[in-house]
């Protein structure tokens, strides 16, 4: 279905995901809003345990118990995925949006050749696909089609990850969701994969949601950047704007947490402490116990997302007008 004129391709509203742990539910994704327009590259960054992977799984409707969506909507091409039944979902999956998982070693079936896995994917859909399509997508990601007969263990880590991306491209979807696809790779392989994803995106025009814990990785590739902390979006805006003027102390801390290979050598501090336990989040602002700029209001008032110049930040330093009234 073509995307509605002017509407975002993907509209996430107030999405909340809880893990049922018995005594007290853990809110892993807390009222998250996110818009992805056609052809856009959105980076989602945050520490482990901040809910970024859970958010992806919730968008793709891949959550399994004990995690469940307890509120909000995911509207993709005008249809709400949250309330959609499994049959309609599976028709949509891979044809209109696909997912590239973190570790290609576990995501590919070790006892089936790459070509057989591609055929499986094609056969799961009624969509007619040309016979040469598997070879074509492999060529797109820079792998010789001879490897359709190869098994995953015969490919290197970088090639496996490329094969996963090729598989995601089989039906030329409008949206590809990527969960740290480069985290198992070396810097050189990582860079060449990122450049390739960007090239393909320019060529084929799909939108990308790219999750990573390494903020520097997406700095040159994403159009929009979402910074997550303890299940909430703490900063959102154009990537360049966030990098040039991080408005939330957490994004600023993340930016200062990795050393540079150029320029003067400066002592860095990182962010002291560790992320909060989501079963028992700190009162007020969740970042307040680790925040260098915290003041007396921070433990008392839970901040909303506020518009600060070109970006949105969830920080009481920027209290003006909340971006949006909470609907609940």
């Amino acid at each position: 279905m073509p995307s509605l004129e002017g509407q975002p391709l993907l509209e996430v509203r107030d999405l909340t995901v809880e893990y049922d742990t018995g005594d007290r539910p853990v809110v892993a994704v807390d009222h998250v809003d996110l818009d992805v327009h056609a052809g856009e590259f959105v980076g989602v960054v945050g520490e482990s345990g901040c809910g970024k992977s859970t958010l992806l799984f919730a968008i793709a409707q891949l959550l399994s118990s004990p995690a469940a969506i307890t509120g909000g909507s995911v509207t993709f091409q005008g249809q709400n995925l949250v309330t959609m039944n499994e049959k309609k979902l599976s028709a949509l999956r891979w044809r209109d949006f696909s997912v590239v998982m973190q570790s290609a070693m576990n995501a590919l079936n070790p006892v089936k050749s790459i070509g057989a896995q591609f055929r499986d994917t094609i056969m799961a859909h009624d969509e007619p696909v040309a016979d040469e399509r598997p070879a074509e997508v492999l060529r797109l990601v820079g792998i010789d089609p001879i490897h359709l007969r190869s098994y995953p263990h015969q490919l290197s880590g970088g090639m496996r990850q490329r094969a996963m991306i090729a598989m995601a491209l089989l039906f030329t979807p409008d949206l590809i969701i990527m969960d740290e696809p480069t985290s198992a790779l070396d810097v050189v392989a990582q860079r060449s994969l990122m450049v390739q994803i960007k090239e393909l995106q320019k060529q084929l025009g799909f939108a990308v949601i790219f999750v990573t814990h390494d903020m520097s990785l997406v700095s040159h590739f994403s159009d929009k950047l979402v910074v997550m902390y303890a299940g909430q979006v703490v900063e959102f805006g154009d990537t360049r704007a966030v990098f040039d003027h991080p408005e939330h102390p957490y994004s600023a801390g993340l930016l200062d947490a990795f050393p540079s290979i150029r320029g003067p050598k400066v002592p860095l501090t990182g962010i002291p402490g560790s992320p909060p336990n989501l079963a028992d989040p700190p009162p007020g602002c969740r970042f307040q116990p680790r925040c260098p700029k915290a003041f007396e209001d921070c433990p008392k008032i839970a901040p909303e997302l506020y518009q600060v110049g070109a970006v949105q930040a969830r920080c009481l330093l920027h209290v003006k007008e909340p971006v949006r009234e909470r609907t609940s």
């Binding site: 520490e47 060449s192 700095s219």
Partner: protein
């Protein structure tokens, strides 16, 4: 000599090296019978580590960096070549007492803090065991407890008395890795082999551990071999940088000198691949597929020649050796030019 020169010449002023590797080589057999081949993991590598020095060893996975750490830790025996520790050849450390003292002096910190601590024991278990095994000067339990508290405080975990009684699952990744360092410190080490100690940790936690390494160097007087594939972090802590490619050290020198003035084309490639939001996008390496070779029964010639933009005929027939190309700065490349001044 200016202060900068003094700093760059640090290797020379530090006196005799703490540890020296000479022509260190380790091969592994792959396959058997007629298909038996030799994988050259580390080939004729020479380097020294000085007193209170942090040396970074950087390279892609499969370049042989972890093999070097295991050779130094005595997990593997070298195929040929020798390691000298405080002037004494490691092959002469035969008795259990000698080996114990060497292992106490040169402990290892592992990559994955989630699997390197025994989940069934409290934190104090590992630290106290190290103390009991390696610290004969501490005769009573009370002394060992006191020392355990001291090393746990030294790695920035407090209150130590409380942390000691916790189980690993109660600690975050960064705290666990600090315990890894505390266990190493309990030996009163001279050199800590840190094999990618921060690569499994979150970006915001990493810098704290890098700072810890620099701190321990000052307060405890230990040297570090810091193995990493993250050159930016190597720049942050290390005095000297060694770049490995396919079992060879291809470039070595003072960190700043190597990074600001790289001689070997592989170092260039690595530097170009580091994501840096503060710098404009470097797209010069798009053609590179980023696959390091497996070095099985290699013929002579530079091992980087297939990926090298500068390769000449000579690179295919003659293996380049490390040449001095600048102050304390060496590279193994036929094409690289020495500093002109």
């Amino acid at each position: 000599m200016t202060s900068v020169d003094m700093e760059e010449a640090g290797v020379d002023t530090a006196g005799a090296p703490l540890l020296e590797a000479k022509e260190l080589t380790r091969h592994f057999r792959v396959g058997r019978g007629f298909s038996r081949q030799m994988l050259h993991a580390v080939d004729e590598v020479n380097f020294t580590i000085g007193q209170q020095e942090i040396v970074a060893l950087a390279g892609e996975s499969g370049s042989g960096k972890s093999t070097i750490a295991r050779l130094l830790a005595g997990v593997y025996k070298p195929t040929s070549g020798e390691i000298f520790y405080q002037g004494r050849a490691m092959s002469t450390y035969r008795s259990r007492k000698d080996q114990l003292s060497y292992r106490g002096d040169v402990p290892m910190v592992f990559q994955d803090p989630f699997s390197s601590l025994n989940p069934a024991f409290r934190v104090k278990h590992g630290v106290l065991r190290s103390l009991k095994l390696h610290r004969r000067d501490l005769t009573t339990k009370a002394q060992r407890f006191e020392e355990a508290e001291r090393v746990i405080e030294a790695v920035g975990l407090s209150p130590a008395g409380d942390v000691m009684h916790r189980y690993p699952y109660e600690l975050s990744g960064g705290q666990r890795q600090r315990i890894g360092f505390a266990q190493a410190l309990a030996h009163k080490p001279k050199l800590i082999l840190a094999d990618e100690p921060v690569s499994m940790l979150d970006v915001s936690i990493r810098i704290g551990l890098l700072n810890l390494m620099a701190e321990l160097r000052e307060s405890q007087g230990v040297s570090f071999l810091y193995i990493t594939h993250d050159i930016a972090s190597a720049r942050y802590v290390a005095d000297r940088l060694m770049i490995m490619y396919a079992g060879h050290v291809v470039e070595t020198g003072p960190t700043e000198s190597v990074l600001q003035n790289p001689k070997h084309p592989y170092t260039d490639l690595l530097l170009g691949a580091v994501p840096d939001p503060r710098a404009p996008l470097n797209t010069g390496i798009e053609g590179d597929t980023g696959e390091p070779p497996k070095v099985i029964d290699p013929a002579p010639g530079c091992r980087f020649r297939w990926r090298c933009p500068l390769a000449v005929d000579r690179c295919h027939v003659e293996t380049p050796l490390l040449r001095v190309l600048g102050k304390n700065h060496q590279a193994a490349c036929h094409v690289a030019e020495p500093d002109t001044d």
